[in-house]
């Protein structure tokens, strides 16, 4: 297993050799006393207090790290193969744990006391600026704390008052706050990472994850505000740590998507008093994501919202509008679209009433069924597939009537029927009882065929509905192969093939009166779609920004950076939120492509190159 095999030294012999070298190294490091470094620390420190204990700690730590490094080098082969293959903790980690367990657990209380008293001394000494070594000692000790992971408990064990006192002390030493801030941020990173790792198993559960992230943020901001008086240095470090955390996302899911799903979740739950507060928290988290990611968030939110509006029976237009105003800053690129979508739905409700009135004025039209239409304005909604479907005569009559009605209201509009979004309630008269079936329009058409024929061949259904194979399979599968077998299929298998026959299953029964038949969603590769959205989004943004810059420059020929950025912001404010960095990068790329150049004498001036 170790490199001993190669040299064909047997293990015992090799081991002895290693031990000899190791002892020698330890002797060298410890001077004349050949003792184990960490046990030794323990013994020595029992008598020592204050500064000396810290000096000793730093001293021992240096030695310990030396030995750990040496041993890791020796067992490189082991580390590279056995350890990494079996995903065991690395030798370095093990080494640090060796130090942590005896030293830290035994001495922790006194160490932190010593740190505080050292801090106090530092403060006193600051006036005469004598002892710089102390400061480096403090810094070294804090470094060890961070490295060994003591930092975590270090902070955790502090009460708020302690932390405030510490903050006050540190703020008076130059650089002290930076050290504390770093420990603080490092600790946040550790906790955040734990959060991500912990959630890896329950990655689907965005809600929990976001709630935890919110809690984490609150916790750190309370600390910062209460103990550190909202020190900017800390706020900055925290912000950076959070940004880092968000950028990575969880298990391949981008933070924009997670947050959008989270919003979807709480909106579906409906209004309660806490929702405003929760949304505020979500907004706080959204502050940490980049502009591009924010656009993505808006896009995901838009997608989720269309799903809610079209397929969720408890969709509430007023509530959605309320949420939109709450989140409007973060949904900017889509806010217009989404507002219009809500208007569409309000209009649809009014239309429904008007349509009934219209029908009652014309006596010769009797639809015989309830018929409601939602008119969606083109381009505000996602692109839906509008496949052709041969409707049965009852439905054709309805469609005709509505088209006639619509012409009276808006005579130059063209209606395209999106059959894939339609739903239909059918009454099924089965042997045991009659049941209400909620199906898609295409499924209803297929089922209605069985009123005329008892047994129909797949190809005949296809001819009657004029549906392509791919769609027809999706229509028939849930009716004949899934949980609710409303149709009997021959042969009785789990897949649909063109040679199959179908028959009405009169023996079908269920304890419920109302059955919803779900249709399998189109299989799309989720990750690929997400990535595509992201790349598209980036390209789209840079195109829009680049074009705007060029338009402005073409008009002015020569323009200072400030004015250029101001005009650009003004022109883009309705389309996207412009980030300064992104804007500058776009300018750099335009210079590189030789569309623009910098003025020779004034680098803040740009020239248009015709």
């Amino acid at each position: 297993m170790t490199m001993n095999e190669e040299k064909t030294i047997d293990l015992g012999q090799g081991w002895e050799l290693m031990q000899r070298v190791n002892t020698q190294l330890k002797n060298n490091l410890d001077g004349l006393e050949p003792k184990l470094s960490y046990e030794d620390t323990e013994n020595l420190s029992l008598e020592k207090h204050g500064e000396s204990i810290l000096t000793e700690l730093v001293h021992r730590w240096d030695h310990h790290i030396e030995i750990v490094n040496w041993l890791s080098n020796c067992f490189q082969y082991l580390e590279g193969n056995y350890i990494s293959q079996n995903s065991l903790p690395s030798l370095h980690e093990v080494g640090i744990t060796c130090f942590r367990v005896p030293v830290y657990q035994e001495l922790y209380g006194r160490l932190s006391e010593a740190v505080i008293s050292l801090n106090n001394n530092l403060l006193k000494n600051q006036a005469n600026k004598g002892e710089h070594i102390d400061r480096s000692l403090l810094k070294n000790v804090l470094d060890i704390f961070v490295e060994v992971g003591m930092g975590k408990t270090y902070r955790k064990n502090y009460k708020v008052e302690d932390l405030s006192r510490m903050a006050e002390l540190c703020s008076q030493i130059p650089g002290g706050l930076i050290i504390i801030s770093r420990i603080f941020a490092a600790h946040l990173v550790v906790e955040a990472r734990a959060l991500v790792e912990h959630d890896e198993d329950a990655a689907s559960n965005e809600k929990d994850f976001v709630m935890k992230a919110i809690k984490l943020r609150d916790k750190y901001y309370t600390y910062t505000n209460d103990c550190f008086k909202g020190e900017t240095c800390l706020l900055l470090d925290l912000k950076i740590a959070f940004q880092e955390f968000w950028r990575k996302g969880v298990v391949g899911m981008s933070c924009s998507k997670i947050l959008a799903s989270f919003c979807d979740n709480i909106i579906r739950k409906g209004g309660n008093e806490a929702i405003e507060e929760t949304l505020q928290k979500v907004e706080d988290l959204l502050d940490y994501i980049t502009c591009a990611d924010r656009d993505l968030f808006a896009k995901f939110y838009w997608k989720k919202m269309t799903q809610r509006l079209l397929f969720y029976k408890n969709a509430n237009v007023e509530f959605e509008a309320f949420i939109l105003t709450q989140l409007r800053w973060h949904l900017q690129p889509f806010i217009g679209k989404m507002g219009q979508m809500l208007r569409d739905l309000t209009l649809a409700k009014q239309n429904e009433v008007a349509f009934e009135d219209f029908l009652s004025t014309i006596p010769y039209i009797d639809l015989g069924i309830d018929f409601a239409v939602t008119v969606l304005t083109d381009r505000r909604w996602p692109c839906y597939k509008s496949f052709h479907l041969n409707l049965p005569t009852e439905m054709v009559k309805c469609v005709k009537a509505f088209t006639e009605f619509y012409q009276t209201k808006k005579n130059c509009r063209k209606l395209t029927w999106i059959n894939s979004l339609g739903t239909c309630k059918l009454i099924g008269n089965f042997e045991s009882k009659s049941m209400e079936l909620v199906v898609t329009t295409a499924q209803a058409c297929a089922l209605l065929l069985f009123n005329e024929f008892d047994r129909i061949k797949y190809s005949d259904i296809k001819v009657s509905l004029k549906l392509p194979d791919k769609d027809l399979v999706r229509v028939l599968q849930p009716l004949s192969c899934a949980k609710h077998k409303i149709l009997k299929k021959e042969p009785n298998t789990q897949t649909i093939s063109p040679s199959d026959y179908f028959e009405f299953n009169s023996e079908f029964t269920d304890r419920r009166k109302r059955i919803k038949i779900s249709i399998p969603p189109l299989v799309e590769k989720k990750v690929v779609v997400d990535d595509e959205t992201r790349v598209q989004n980036r390209i789209h943004r840079s195109n829009v920004i680049g074009a705007t810059i060029m338009r402005i420059m073409k008009r002015h020929k020569v323009l200072g950076f400030q004015r250029l950025s101001k005009e650009c912001l003004e022109q883009l404010c309705s389309k996207l939120k412009l980030h300064r960095r992104e804007f500058k990068m776009q300018i750099e790329s335009l210079i590189e492509q030789e569309y623009l150049m910098r003025d020779k004498s004034n680098p803040n001036l740009f020239r248009y190159i015709p």
């Binding site: 480096s136 020929k557 400030q562 500058k584 150049m597 003025d599 680098p603 190159i609």
Partner: protein, 214 residues
Amino acid sequence: MGSSAPHQVDIFEVYRRYCDIRSASKRLCIGGDRQDDELKEASFPRDALNCLLKLVDSNLHLWTSIFSELLRLMSRLDFMVDLEFSHFYDFVFFICRENGQKNITVSRAVTAWRLVLAGRFRLLNQWCDFVEKNQRHNISEDTWQQVLAFSRCVYENLEGYDPEGAWPVLIDDFVEHMSRFGFYVLKNLQLTCSSVFFSCPYFSLFQGVSIIRS
């Protein structure tokens, strides 16, 4: 691209020709109005410079390395005049271009900076370390030129940097990075240091404390 075999040129010759091309293009433009001048100056010498670059490429095997040649050139040039140095600085970018590419690689740029800006840029070490660690894309000519401007106007406490200016993103990032890690300390320590180092040790605060060694 003469028909004869490419003749041997040394770095002095290349530099002389480079300066010729640049001043020729300037002379050509005298007479036009100023705006047009700059535009012409930007576009005209490209062909000539590309030819020169090809000549350099064909001679490259005769040189030990571009950087040692540059060092040789530097020792002969008189940089007392700022303009002369600017010319030379632009020339360094030109000669570092590989295979006619517009931009130069990060590693070349860093080596070149360390060479030509030594003693001229107070944050040179920090800058080079930062670029090496954080920049993944090649360095564009614009960035290259702006670094010189930056080096001239900035002090080690980052004073002189105008956050509202049109600095390239890389420089903005650098300043942000520096102010995160060192600016705070610097403000307090300025008085304790008497002399100015080109590679000031303050920023190594986190690698090991060497804050004050005056």
